[in-house]
Symmetry: C2
Subunit: 252 residues, 2 copies
């Protein structure tokens, strides 16, 4: 079941040695809160660091894992964008999500013992790989780590329905952009200028609409002065109005 081009199961090339800069390297990691929390002593922190495998760089189109692969590990995105998707029985792709630095993939594979979806790099991607059996065992000893895992998983339950039928195409696109903006901002990137690392087709697929609709909506947003977009470079010009549109979807 293991196709070529899958980086995850292998542990030879692609694994970077842990350089001495581990502490700063991990400061933007999804587990930094767990690592840096006062409740975690130095030996515990070392245990966690020993557990990590640095994977990458992955190039666009390279897969992190594929649907059906045995579940062995979760991974935190350190750099780049990872797209998760499934292929339905008609051969059509279904985009499930885009995962930015600081976000964790693979959590939905615990139940079932196999990855239920594919994960592919959209640009140059760096990952931190955590063997799940090992991190679960470690979590037995470290209440903070267990709690952190619970929170990570809980956060992913009941994600906002960005593609619900009762929201207009404009609202969903606005919500998508605002979501990206906020997630990037939370990791220290600019919330107003960023790059869409995914194609219009991917966005359309994710939002469950036609690529033509994505094109038209973005065009209209630009004409209305909400943003400036050239190719895949986005600059948000009127954040308040865009957020106002997104409110209908994001509900807050």
């Amino acid at each position: 079941m293991s196709q070529p081009g899958v980086v995850f199961p292998r542990t030879g090339p692609g694994i970077m040695s842990d350089d001495g800069d581990a502490l700063t390297f991990c400061s933007t990691c999804a587990f930094s809160q767990a690592c840096l929390s006062e409740g975690m002593d130095k030996s515990a922190l070392m245990d966690l660091h020993v557990l990590v495998e640095h994977v990458g760089p992955l190039h666009p189109g390279e897969h992190v894992f594929r649907e059906g692969d045995p579940f062995t590990a979760i991974a935190a995105v350190r750099a780049g964008t990872v797209k998760t998707y499934q292929i339905d029985r008609n051969g059509h792709e279904q985009v499930l999500g885009f995962h930015l630095p600081g976000e964790v993939i693979g959590l939905n594979a615990i139940h079932g013992d196999r990855y239920p979806c594919n994960a592919v790099a959209l640009d140059t991607v760096m990952l931190c790989r955590f063997s799940f059996p090992k991190i679960a065992t470690l979590a037995q000893r470290l209440p903070n780590l267990q709690q952190h895992l619970f929170r990570l998983m809980s956060r992913d339950i009941g994600v906002a329905s960005l593609f619900a039928r009762d929201n207009s195409a404009d609202e969903r696109m606005a919500a998508f952009l605002i979501g990206l903006s906020r997630r990037l901002a939370a990791r220290g990137f600019s919330p107003r200028r960023f790059q869409l690392t995914m194609s219009r087709t991917d966005i359309a697929n994710y939002l469950r609409q036609a690529p033509e609709t994505v094109s038209r909506v973005l065009r209209r947003f630009e004409k209305d002065g909400l943003l400036h977009i050239k190719q895949r470079d986005v600059e948000i010009l009127d954040l308040p109005r865009l957020e106002e549109l997104a409110l209908a979807v994001l509900r807050d």
Copy 2:
């Protein structure tokens, strides 16, 4: 922030004493796998049983918890149906899900420390309540329990998009019915004859469509011989064809 009619935070009335029949009582519980797994010894099982509070019966309209309440516990539905929902800023209800016997609610509250949604009984509901701090502490000692919690949460991540725009009203209704049928069957109920414990309005809200559409689709299903429906009593007549319709949504 605690409204009247919320059963959860209180521990006086509504809590049933644990009768001697605990073992058989729990055989259909969401945690039965964890309890009965060979890896869990007797003392561990007793620890878990001591942890449980039996809540109920709750009557239609009574709330298990409300949005904003401090998160203290998760709960397994033992009997009846629980509806989870949110109220958006326009005062409109958004149905998130229906939870049948054997299913767990409250897992999405771990992150945030407050319940992000309301949970209300649709009919007569019995619950098993687990203090989350206590069960998390117990999970430190019991690897199987920790694993079970991980699996429960993992299962709820990335739930099928039953209300995506690219599926027709017919397909989504079929998927909804097939989903109910399978979940009921998994708990020993009849997969062909069951009762819709929720109103048409609730179904429509959940599927993100108009109540009129729900009515029309069910009517058409009956005319086409797919099922027989009288009030809220459903009898599925042509399971294969209904599953065929649902395939477009459920992808399997």
